[in-house]
Symmetry: C2
Subunit: 519 residues, 2 copies
């Protein structure tokens, strides 16, 4: 047999690198062995092993959200993809670009319905904007370039490319060049004029910002619009990527619960959506409205999610004759250091005092997060990546992805214990890659939100069996041991002072640390 | 507002109990709070909290495989179901009956596309034989009875019932009575006659058994057929539920790799399928055949998977004029106790010596499992539940479900470390429910099978990056600490003697234990 010049697997990896996709989070199996072997054919491809696919997809979410460009995942047939779906759901809600590479049985093997055969396209469909199954090694390079192009389409999409094993080992074409991206579409002059007219009519107006309107030039442009118009600047509770803290243009965060949103928006006469959607309740509650736009309030779009919110805001600011700079800036206001009981507020106060500038918060602090958000609001400038799709277990993986995207920035991962139990395998990857992440587990031994929601949904009688389903005290997880078992340095804090000592030392070192905060 | 007599959630739980579904493995969220509250309305419903949905679905797999009746799962919208899909894939391959209850947003809330909204039907389709979304509380009871009926249809199916939150809290109809099951269909007399004719024609014949042909009366009938005909009795590598060990009718297990299967079946002139499918390779390999039936071998069906394999074998034995008892029985042959190095064989020798009768093996021992199967083959009588769909991370959850289905039997869970990392959260449920399970982790710090497969799929050059994707040494997981962190008593064995001491003590106590075997 003549030696193959390049096989499909090599054409995949080299095309990914050509298309500027040079990080791969994966957990491969037999059907992906040629892809694994091909990793060494592309020296700049970084391959990160994850012990569970939900870690891989969540890491790709964090990487893509922070860097704006896709990572690849490498997943083992349908069940491997299935294990990654929940965090792909979160990524879809964040509009994170991701390229999933899913291995499959060889094309000629599928007819036998061997045990690992499944409907991979079916698994992929609910989370993917683009799905394709290559049928020949000869098309893998071209298909890969198309998958990357699709992922980079505005506002950021999930591509799933399914590669049967024989497309990996058969002879392939040369690697493909990148295809042009379909980036965010410019907003029409008419849309800008219409928004300007609204902002000049004297009515109480709020802009709800999202995507690139919440950081960098977009946020600055929003600040100019605010200065010229006096409009409120708002963002979703779970805006995927925000720049917060001192010196930034202040943006008010829409609260979580429906009745809080209604009260928060009371009196608003006009809402202008900038890459966002109308505010709605996260869940439905009996007798409460899901729709949270005030009655009679005028709703309009400056930019749809696939459009260029940043450019639209700059044009709007110019149209309004706005000053060159925002009028309002967040002041630096650090709280006193706490003492005594370890509470979510005390944790927030320590973090605000001791976290260095430009840290990245991969935040799944859940019910403990309110104190954190309000306290960190006037802390040092930082980036905030929250849980975007409501599917818990994204925070630890997002921290992995963010740390790989920004190796010179400290990553802080405040995490509820219930959610952390979902993807605790991420700790191992943090240790393996020596990522500069400090994980703080809020150890309240509870699905805290559910104790609140149980009342809110109108449950009238609660028995012992029901309450036990929300409670994690029996047995109590020991996160210090779990983290040590995964190779991560870990310790437990029971007072504010102990927490401050541990957090200070974590901020001063590099590498992964876990602090179990006994709140 | 008038007090509701019974709401949809209560009608669900009470209908499940009416239909003999009285165990629920779950991880509920806000949209399921009424279902949680309703648990206390049915005293005989046992509700088991799992820290990750893959544990819940895997536990339902173990429960259903052992007991033959479905457990329910309670899952939180699309992402909750998604987290459970991989083990539902395994359960589908085992023909395990399961009733998934998946909460959703209230019917009127779905239009707003709130962040947790997803295509639940899409997620469910690849693993479910039956899917339905209730649109009103009034139909929940009837829909639940239909879901249970569908799950209990032969050969055992997965039902997914999607319940919007308002179908839980609105007023409902009275609980429904069970519907008749469509059990296994009887095999026609013609099919029995045809098989009898084959068994009389003097050709070398093998029966491949599955489902209820591999335990109880079915296995006994197969033994009679063997006695009358001299045919080989075979089963799939990953037959879902087998009864093994001394006193049982011996059944040869078809090996894993394609070329081994071909050699194993060489000379076979006739294969009769009894609830099974023709043997094929698990994966495809370049240049190797996927189809493993010998050339010219005659293939026929005595019973299809939905048909009554047990009854067909009994009729076949009678038609053949078989003796009332099998001619062959597995003898009890216990190996010597090992000493020195701790190897998979030494572990198997200890297990064969010290495991009590009627133990259940929830076996995901992967590459370490060959020694176990061959050594335990002549051990004390036991039940074997292996990984059926090739998606690793089912063993620990299956052990949970088996222990709940059979509380008076010892459950042993021999597990590869790579697979155990997938669903390690199951350890917490073992502790919480004080289940009588002994977990043995084969700590080889490797995806052992992939090191074998890398060569077999024809990879010619393997670089450092590729090898690192199969290796779990950096960092080394400490399973003793992880298990202790989850509330399970755990210790490490480095020699055969240490392992024997720990295993002996585990067999003599009740409750969960983990032994980390440093092989």
């Amino acid at each position: 047999m003549q030696k193959i010049q390049i096989n499909g697997a090599q054409s995949l990896i080299q095309t990914l690198v050509n298309c500027d996709v040079d990080v791969c989070f994966g957990n491969p199996g037999t059907s992906e062995m040629h892809f694994v072997a091909a990793l060494d054919s592309a020296p700049t491809m970084r391959s990160v092993l994850c012990l569970f696919e939900g870690v891989a997809t969540g890491a790709a979410d964090g990487y893509g959200r922070l860097s704006g460009k896709p990572a690849a995942t490498l997943l083992h047939l349908g069940p491997g993809l299935a294990n990654g779906l929940a965090n792909l759901h979160n990524a879809r809600r964040a509009n994170t670009p991701i390229v999933n590479i899913v291995g499959d049985h060889a094309t000629y093997h599928l007819q036998y319905d061997a045990l690992l055969t499944s409907d991979i396209v079916g698994f992929a469909r609910p989370v993917s904007s683009w799905i394709h199954e290559s049928k020949s090694a000869k098309t893998v390079a071209a298909d890969t370039a198309r998958a990357v192009q699709a992922a980079r389409s505005a506002p950021g999409c999930i591509s799933t490319l399914i590669l049967p094993a024989d497309t990996a080992w058969d002879e392939a074409e040369r690697p493909a060049d990148p295809l042009p991206h379909r980036g965010p579409e410019p907003v029409s002059a008419a849309a800008v004029e219409a928004a300007a007219a609204l902002l000049r009519n004297g009515k109480k107006t709020a802009l709800i910002l999202r995507a690139n309107a919440l950081y960098g030039a977009g946020l600055e442009a929003a600040g100019r619009v605010q200065a010229a118009s006096g409009a409120r600047l708002l963002c979703d509770t779970f805006a995927p990527h925000t720049e917060l803290g001192a010196g930034r243009v202040p943006v008010e965060r829409i609260p979580y619960f429906a009745e809080q949103i209604v009260s928060f928006l009371e009196g608003t006469e006009q809402i202008i959506l900038v890459g966002s959607k109308p505010p709605v309740s996260f869940f439905a509650y009996p007798g409460k409205s899901s729709w949270c736009t005030p009655k009679g309030c005028h709703l309009s779009y400056l930019a749809h999610p696939h459009e260029d919110a940043c450019g639209a805001l700059a044009a709007l600011a110019d149209t309004l004759g706005a000053p060159p700079q925002a009028a309002k800036r967040v002041p630096l206001q650090l709280p006193d250091m706490p003492s005594g009981n370890l509470t979510p507020l005390a944790i927030a106060q320590v973090m605000a005092n001791l976290t260095p500038e430009q840290a990245i918060f991969a935040d799944e602090s859940a019910t403990s997060g309110l104190a954190l958000l309000s306290t960190m609001a006037t802390g040092r400038p930082h980036t905030h990546l929250p849980l975007t799709g409501g599917s818990i277990g994204d925070g630890l993986p997002v921290a992995v992805g963010a740390a790989i995207a920004a190796p010179n920035r400290k990553v802080v991962c405040p995490h509820g214990d219930g959610g952390a139990a979902y993807t605790m395998q991420a700790l191992w990857t943090m240790a393996r890659e020596n990522l500069d992440i400090t994980v703080v587990i809020y150890a309240n031994r509870s699905y805290g939100i559910l104790n609140i929601e149980l009342q809110r949904v109108g449950v009238q009688e609660t028995g012992q069996k029901a309450l036990s389903m929300l409670d994690l005290h029996n047995p109590e997880m020991n996160w210090t041991k779990i983290a040590q078992g995964m190779g991560v340095e870990a310790s437990r804090a029971t007072t504010a002072e102990e927490f401050a000592d541990l957090y200070r030392s974590a901020m001063q070192q590099r590498g992964p640390r876990l602090i179990e905060a006994m709140i």
